[in-house]
């Protein structure tokens, strides 16, 4: 038998050998238990790393960086209302609806728009078992208690509390109406900066509070500043076809608003804005 394969084993596991080299390595592996063990362990080590999950940046990380004068090439606009024409909604799967309640802003707290993509992604990745818990079952007592301690109601609109997930600086509660699921994130001690709403935002009015419609990712999204915390509602789940006809639909169609209005008003009511 030839000498052991040594680092050829990693190259083999990575598919980096030519056909001839691979054939030679395989011939050796057949005859050499030691190298077979090494190959097995090498594949294990590779799997450890390749199976590692993506890492979320802290909320507002990129937004804060983009705002930092020492790092940004230019200042950001202050007002964004009614700029629907700037971005075509036709290319997006749906809209974000943002409700920004005004509160005293504290310069010491993090500000900026939270990483909305991350929240939508977290919502979408919430295990089906949690998302599809039957509404008649609802959350257990401990979950309901945790939600209550966060100021989250047991029912929002027609949606019932299903689960509460502790994600550190943000807490995620899922609500379901039996068919559709939405998530409510509580971003602890977080200020939403109105000026950072994406281009294309449209201002609306919910119960006397400004409402922002923002083009974005596959789930509708509502933001509200409630005291020192920010509340972000993601969902309900994917938009039906026909709701994405474009800019005109976003600015004038009731269907998009109707879709999130119930949940939005319920949320506002629950937090004392109603």
């Amino acid at each position: 038998m030839n000498a052991h394969l040594d680092d050829v084993i990693s190259a083999y596991a990575d598919g980096e050998l030519t056909g001839d080299e691979a054939a030679t390595a395989e011939a050796h592996l057949t005859a050499c238990p030691s190298c077979r063990a090494e190959l097995s362990a090498t594949r294990q080590a590779k799997a450890w790393l390749s199976d590692l999950p993506e890492v979320m940046p802290p909320f507002g990380f990129y937004e804060r960086m983009l705002l930092d004068p020492s790092a940004t090439p230019r200042g950001r606009r202050a007002r964004l209302s009614i700029r629907v024409g700037a971005i075509s909604l036709a290319a997006t799967a749906s809209i974000w609806l943002a409700v920004v309640g005004m509160s005293g802003l504290d310069a010491n707290r993090p500000s900026g728009l939270p990483a909305l993509n991350s929240l939508v992604s977290l919502h979408q990745r919430t295990p089906p078992a949690d998302r599809e818990r039957p509404s008649d079952q609802g959350a257990d007592a401990a979950q309901a208690q945790r939600a209550a301690s966060l100021g989250l109601p047991a029912v929002i609109g027609g949606y019932q509390l299903a689960t509460v997930v502790d994600r550190g600086d943000e807490q995620q509660a899922t609500y379901t109406d039996g068919a559709k699921t939405m998530s409510v994130f509580v971003l602890l001690r977080y200020d939403i900066a109105e000026s950072l709403l994406p281009l294309g935002s449209v201002e609306r009015d919910f119960a006397g509070h400004p409402v922002w419609i923002v083009p974005g990712e596959p789930n509708p999204l509502i933001l509200a500043q409630v005291g020192v915390n920010a509340i972000v509602l993601v969902g309900p789940d994917p938009v039906a076809p026909g709701m994405t006809e474009g800019v005109e639909a976003a600015s004038s169609s009731r269907s998009i608003l109707d879709r999130v209005q119930g949940a939005g008003e319920g949320l506002l009511e629950a937090f004392g804005f109603g």
């Binding site: 238990p33 190298c35 294990q44 790092a71």
Partner: protein, 189 residues
């Protein structure tokens, strides 16, 4: 900053300059686009390289500054490969800046590491938590950590890694192999 040839075989590299108005956006992303479209990928690579959030944020900031200042040579075709290159180089630059002495000498692997498994054909999957794996990864010397991250986290091939790190392909192979062996040693001890 030069781009060693033989990487992804993409001719016609173009430098990014401060004035990006003249540059087609489908070829050269602005740093806002990088943050928006590849922010999580970039952060993940930075976190896996540095092993903690503070250093990952510093590293990402440095990457975006390099993108903005035109210090990074753009490679059309693979945006994430390009970002991985900038990130890894910024990481290794920082490592070398911080340490006074030359590259750490990594001892040869003990012979005992070869064939330690009792049953050579058993595919025993050893479950490890992401934090355990990250801790073991962070304990590796940076010159072993970087190729491993590029290979197994980013998914680059050896030629791309060699180009990114400006080292010979044979060195890539040996560092990846020894890096994995050290990782196994840490996680199966």
């Amino acid at each position: 900053v030069t781009d060693p040839s033989g990487g992804r075989g993409q001719p016609g590299h173009g430098d990014i300059h401060g004035d990006q108005g003249d540059v087609p956006t489908d070829r050269v992303p602005t740093w806002e686009e990088v943050a928006r479209d590849h922010g999580r990928f970039l952060y993940t690579v930075a976190y896996r390289l540095t092993g903690n959030h503070d250093d990952a944020q510093d590293l990402v900031q440095e990457v975006l500054l390099r993108v903005r200042r035109g210090l990074a040579t753009f490679t059309p075709g693979s945006l994430e490969g390009w970002l991985s290159r900038i990130t890894t180089n910024a990481f290794l630059d920082d490592v070398r800046k911080r340490r006074r002495r030359p590259l750490e000498v990594v001892p040869d692997l003990p012979e005992a590491l070869v064939g330690v498994d009792a049953d050579p054909d058993a595919a025993l999957a050893v479950e490890r938590l992401p934090d355990e794996i990250q801790d073991a990864l962070r304990a590796l010397p940076p010159d072993f950590r970087a190729p491993l991250v590029l290979c197994d986290v980013v998914g680059l091939d050896y030629a791309e890694i060699a180009s990114t790190l400006d080292i010979p392909p044979g060195t890539v192979r040996s560092r990846i192999h020894r890096g994995r062996a050290l990782l196994r040693k840490a996680l199966t001890a």
